[in-house]
Amino acid sequence: MGAALFGGALIGLAAAGLLVLTGKTAGVSGIVDGVLRGERGEWGWKAAFLLGLVSGGLLLAWRDPTALASAAPRTWPWVIAGGLLVGFGARLGGGCTSGHGVCGVGRGSLRGIVGTTLFIASGALTVLVLRRLA
């Protein structure tokens, strides 16, 4: 619990730093989208942020490799379908866990609050249904 709060505070600090120093929102799906599209004028900082994520991952891999994911939680069809829905849904809804969940909620945005509530609810419902099917 302490680690989760502390890790969360670092996430908030990183997103807040980007906001107050550059005016940008740390929404990872939007950043990924901008990099994929080669978004003019925004590409540099967005690519740098993603490179930072991977570099942070390398730091973790060096200090505490157990922090990183290894095994798939479900079989391949679920993983692939899940990834497609995550990418597609995040862009359609204009945000993911970071953009809606941290930055949107953190700005008191009704859109962020509703989006976050909705994806947690639909995720919980999906886990429930999958467990019933298993």
Partner: protein, 137 residues
């Protein structure tokens, strides 16, 4: 300089994800398992992150920044069909794979068949979304 700030924020963000346990799909699926063995970890992560962000935004909203555009003064309150459809689909996918975009990119530091295929499918999903989105934002 903006690029350097973005890089540093990305590093810090990834370390936060790792320390909080959010890079593990099992933690995410445990949080979504409200009607089973519920794991509240992600709730604590949000309780750590949101107040920090809220304070920073409240202190600086509408103010200029050193290395970019001003901090947005207003937040987005628009509720539309895209939000409802997109967030619902996102939740389903999140429960299938146990991964969202931030952890997917961070986990590239530990390449495995799982981390690579989930990232590739997220990228494909993002690319496909351009089919149903207006071009300019």
């Amino acid at each position: 300089m903006k690029v350097a700030v973005a890089f540093a924020c990305g590093v810090l963000f990834a370390v936060g994800l790792g320390l909080s346990g959010m890079l593990q799909p099992a933690k995410v699926l445990g949080f979504l398992d409200f009607f089973g063995a519920w794991d509240p970890t992600l709730l604590f992560v949000m309780c750590g992150a949101i107040p920090v962000y809220l304070l920073a935004w409240a202190a600086r909203r509408g103010r200029p920044t050193v290395w970019g555009s001003p901090v947005p003064a207003r937040s987005n309150h628009v509720l539309d069909a895209r939000l409802f459809a997109g967030a619902s689909l996102f939740g389903v996918g999140w429960a299938f794979a146990g991964v969202c975009p931030g952890p997917a990119v961070t986990n590239l530091a530990a390449p495995s068949a799982f981390t690579l295929s989930v990232l590739a499918s997220i990228l494909a999903g993002v690319a496909l979304s351009s089919l149903v989105r207006p071009r300019a934002r």
